[in-house]
Amino acid sequence: MINIVFWFFVVMTIAAAFLVVLSKNLVYAAIALLVTLLGVATMYIFLWADFMAGTQVMIYIGGILILLLFGIMLTHRITSVQISHTNVQRGVGALIVLVLFGGLAWMINITPWLEFASEEPVQTVHSIGMLLMTDFLLPFEVASVLLLGALIGAAVLARKES
């Protein structure tokens, strides 16, 4: 049963990712991106990363995707039906990507990965919080300054010059 659920989410993620890349309509691509991000969040759950799954849903779907939709709405006239794009040099791109994926898949399958046995934790939030406040305190603070800088920069860039 759990296997069926797992493979369902794997296929859903891949199919939605294809739709993101190939869809002619940019709004459809954004909705497909939502499904892809949700699929990756379920993969996190299968990998015992409960906190990361929640973070993925909240920040990617609740934040980044909404920002992308705002971007689509602000840069296209809603009344115009043509919210589309044109793909150039699809053949060459597909060839390069197929070679890239072939190499990656080959490497993944021949490498003898070192795997350690571990048991499923009850929850990871406590340990992640401890790590962030001890070993990774400096990167944590630097990340907050970086976010502040990026937000101020975005506000300055998007402001109309008067």
């Binding site: 940019l26 991106l33 992308l68 990656l104 993944i108 990965w113 992640i128 976010l147």
Partner: protein
């Protein structure tokens, strides 16, 4: 579903598709979506290796920082795209070839 290879292959598929979007799309927002796919593939790899490397939570911390960087990147990129639209009336990256108007 308990093998590292499945997750790595899924991440490789997501990475390749994101790469394809970055290479062939001309709409700046579609390129941004491709970059999101690539970042998600990297995150999936981090968390898969954390799970199969003895549940080492350092991978989770790295994934959190990647998400933070993705949020900052999208905010700045959208500001730039809106500026591009105001200057060129289009967000086709092929048409934006000069730095002055």
């Amino acid at each position: 579903m308990d093998s590292l290879q499945i997750y790595l292959t899924l991440a490789a598929i997501l990475f390749s598709l994101g790469m394809f979007a970055v290479m062939t799309r001309r709409n700046a927002i579609a390129i941004l979506m491709g970059i999101e796919l690539i970042l998600n593939a990297a995150n999936l790899n981090f968390i898969a290796f954390a799970r199969f490397g003895g549940m080492n939570l350092t991978g989770h911390i790295f994934a959190i920082f990647v998400i933070v960087l993705a949020a900052a990147e999208v905010a700045v990129a959208l500001a730039i795209i809106i500026n591009l639209y105001q200057n060129f009336k289009s967000i086709n990256v092929d048409e934006a070839q000069q730095m002055k108007q």
